[in-house]
Symmetry: D2
């Protein structure tokens, strides 16, 4: 940690500040005296120092962190890729690439089972479907809830695909007992009470980046889950909010290689939410694969115009078949494959 | 609602689409045929139409909404200002201006009672203090929780100031029984499960704008609470996330007059979180008052350098005294006053 | 164009407004009367109507455009891909993919010629190099100017690669007589005086997206050049400014397919500026290719640590060799190739 | 300047890097060795070091600047407020507050003279009017150019108000000989060739912040002008581009106190462009005054619905009269006044 002292600060004040800092066991403060600037380099375990409080000191101009504030999620302390075991023979990360697909919302048994069969035959290895739906409007369809999870389990029975579905409140956790991967949506990325509860489970968690959250904040939210003892975290880039309005969100494709450099956790991309429109799914999915993602999450619906949510960005099963062929081609060009 | 048809669409397809639209009772579709463009003007109660689904229709190029998607929060249907009765003789909105101040976190009885006395004597009419603290890092101080609420109630007893404190999970609601105003923080603005639960209470709710949420989304979140029957919603602008890094957030002062034009709900501003640094509190507080806010929320701490959170942006009680004098001067110049 | 009338406007005012609108030859106004809302659909040639002025009318609540404000750049009026002929046997667009590479700044003959030879042998088909350098600081290296262009022409003589270099002021245009492609940098994307002058030439123009400009604004700037009669415009996505600070800019990979859908002009991507750091060049370049770009612009320097600008984001020639192999693999997987 | 060394770097490499750094005369490098991290504090005159090049060194993890990159504009080296002398008895900065108002575009003699008389009688002390207009569309009105400047000079003759008008290209500079203040628009804030030319004049320059430019970049652009010897720079906040779409731009009111803290230059605000709509001008103007601005720039038009540009955001002279009364009230409450 680096502390920059205000210009023209009296030497005695600096000395007594240094003495104060060194009272914390294991910390050493090195003084660097410049022409216009005095800097203190603080070394040792600075993870418990509150950077904002240092800033309130009258002689401090600025404090800059040198080390990342996350540990469990940090590749520096865990150089090898984490491989998350989803169960049912499916792993993700460390070379394993998976495709998660299915409808935005689970609507009825026929719908979810029919889509599950189609996406499986196209090569999808996991099934998504929303049972609890976070909707901007209180008047919009809010999901089938417990019944939706039941229907997903039916679809799993029919196809063998592990299921991924979103949780919106820690109180609903008992309903997710048989769910294979619990998704935390973008709007709940900093719902810290929920993250803490998920840290006490051992379920794989698919953690979506919030639409105005930095890459560091995403890793800090992963840290919340991991600090509770659950290391099965899968990160998901799904587009951020910017000034551009042509696309629903701006797909931050750079987040994929950046996350993989900073962390050992698997990273998937969701081109459906990122672009918000069906004809963008293909180019964004291929871009994500080329950028090194460990997986994709794609919305597929058998009748998009009648979908209860997100029809606009869903692919039909036929369109999904075509996109999957291209995904496999790009993977092959990179020496990779699904599975 | 306006539906723009793709160029060169066959007339029969448009006619059958219009017929389909008019099947919904109470809706009428007017066809406007242009040289390059065909438009359908859809009138009647369009609030239950899913705009995204219309967009998936093959002949539709774009759909534009004409009416706002919120009703209960909409000034068009409720022209007079809402006055929220906080209790203990305090009202906000409709000409009533209030100042809410206190520490970021409640730390101990001495701290909260001392600060409460000081802010009261400076003219503050409500007391804030965090018991449940949403922190980016799992390793940071998370608040005193239930004990923090107890201490706030002590401070209320000592000073008579109504108390405002943040909720992070619907499951904690029983602890908030004697709290005067329940705050929903920026990170939970779209925690819809929490909003629904708060809609079932009759408590005044201070709803903070999320750091990447639009004004319309803030009003939709207010709508979630109001749809449950709780009309006691106070909106709060606290800064949004932009590319600028000199300030913690960008204080969107325009949101104050815009919210007051679109909605009848009271609007307060939080200059402490918006700027993130203590010397910015004064100019931003005065700007908010001049822009027409119904209240301010300001962090005050008796020892900022030792604060367990947000010390950097807190005023000392002496600084707060000075700022309050200036706030009163601006209010007076606008023919207003606190209370 | 759609005009939404304020609620409760008197019928006579609407009628006289409609009559006023129809005075413009070729325009027809269709009235759509709703329960809460009255809409006027304005059809015909609305391109000369000033939308902002309509908005100032007392009875107007909002005006929404239906047609895009650009014509020459619009794929609707020009369905086939434009192929820009660079000269020297090189074409871009309509299936032709090109790689433009070279140093940020031209520094000396040895440097530019050495790099030119290396990038050519790796498969690059055009040479970039800055002679006029837009630098944030007046104290930073500002480029070799006229001499830099001379050195680029030397490198062209030595290798045959067409050259691309940036213009910063219309007054410098005579110096660009033998330049193959004139680049307009992100900071000058809305330097309208410069765009107008370039519209009077017939040179290929590489137009970079401004860091806070929308896709529509980029197309409007292309329109400025095309309105002058110069249709040889190549669009370039190079990252936009967002709240994320891990990367220099946020590479908006979606802009590639969106631009190709909205416009017939070729689209290239600049992964060096987008990411701002050398290890991001490879994943972003591959993502751009997979998303359908018509070309790439990549910074290569033979000694990045001594580069006079942008060393941080430059590849060494050896690194560039490796990246080019992977680019060719992805192209092949898509049934494409360089040239 | 602080250089953070990558973990596990060999000691010899660090030593030779330090030796290399100290070859620059006047620079000293202090080594701070930590448990996980080695830091080098570089002191002395670091203004000529290219931070990006340091970053390309293989052993460097990150480089952080301690001092601001601007000098002439920096309050640290120039503690007293700069007072810019506009001429004609008008000064701005250092306690002098001025109101600049007039139409977006100069349209004809009658229009500009009529508006000039009205704004003067309301208390405006300077006249604005656009002769060269930067318009997003090549098909929109581009201004009366040289004739527009002539008409402004007529209005000055009629009223005595100094005139402020925008330049778009350095080649037009001779036309601005009798203009009192030359405005650089938001889109040209980083047109460095133009800034350099303006640095060679001694005219007061009103430099508008670009819509995606940081406060630091605005000060660096001021530095470009000042480095040429022209210290008469007035900074202008006019709104930045964010995700919010209810307002044209997001008025960054915090920029006013931040700029005044970092720099000694006068700071004015433009509430007309910031909000983009006439009913927002009053609250934003008052907010800017309360936040400590040295002046305001407000668009006034005698017939907004017929204005050739920006009618939507213009006040009528009557509305301007009202707003000026309120501006004077807020100024008075702060112990200030116009002039």
């Amino acid at each position: 940690m680096i502390i920059i002292i205000k210009p023209n600060t009296k030497k005695e004040l600096v000395s007594s500040f240094v003495a104060e800092l060194e009272k914390t066991p294991g910390l050493q403060a090195h003084l660097v005296d410049g022409l216009h600037t005095t800097i203190i380099g603080l070394v040792g375990d600075t993870s418990k120092i509150d950077i904002d409080n240092l800033r309130t000191n009258d002689i401090v101009e600025e404090v800059k962190r040198v080390q990342e504030p996350y540990k469990n999620a940090n590749r520096k302390f865990h150089p090898d890729d984490t491989v998350v075991d989803i169960g049912k023979g499916i792993k993700i990360g460390g070379g394993h690439f998976q495709v998660i697909s299915g409808p935005c919302s689970v609507e009825c048994e026929e719908q979810i089972c029919e889509i599950a069969r189609r996406v499986k035959s196209a090569g999808s290895t996991m099934l998504r479907g929303g049972a609890f739906k976070p909707r901007t409007s209180p008047y919009a369809f809010q999901g089938l809830k417990a019944e939706g999870i039941e229907l997903l389990l039916e679809a799993n029975k029919a196809t063998g695909l592990p299921i991924v579905t979103e949780i919106m409140d820690a109180a609903h956790l008992p309903l997710f007992e048989n769910v294979d991967v619990i998704q935390v949506g973008a709007r709940n990325m900093q719902n810290f009470e929920l993250l803490k509860e998920l840290g006490h489970t051992r379920k794989p968690i698919l953690l979506k980046r919030g639409l105005a959250n930095t890459i560091e904040e995403l890793l800090m939210s992963a840290e919340y889950i991991m600090a509770g003892g659950n290391e099965n975290v899968i990160l998901c880039e799904r587009g951020i909010r910017t000034f551009e309005t042509t696309t629903r969100n701006t797909f931050d494709v750079s987040a994929i290689p950046v996350l993989k450099k900073l962390s050992h956790l698997p990273v998937v991309a969701d081109p459906s939410h990122a672009g918000g429109i069906n004809w963008l799914v293909e180019p964004l999915a291929l871009a994500a694969v080329a950028a090194g993602a460990d997986g994709l999450m794609i919305e597929v619906h058998n009748n998009p115009a009648k979908a209860l949510s997100d029809g606009k960005q869903s692919l039909t099963p036929d369109e999904f078949d075509d996109v999957m062929v291209k995904i496999k081609n790009i993977l092959a060009a990179m020496g990779r494959s699904i599975g």
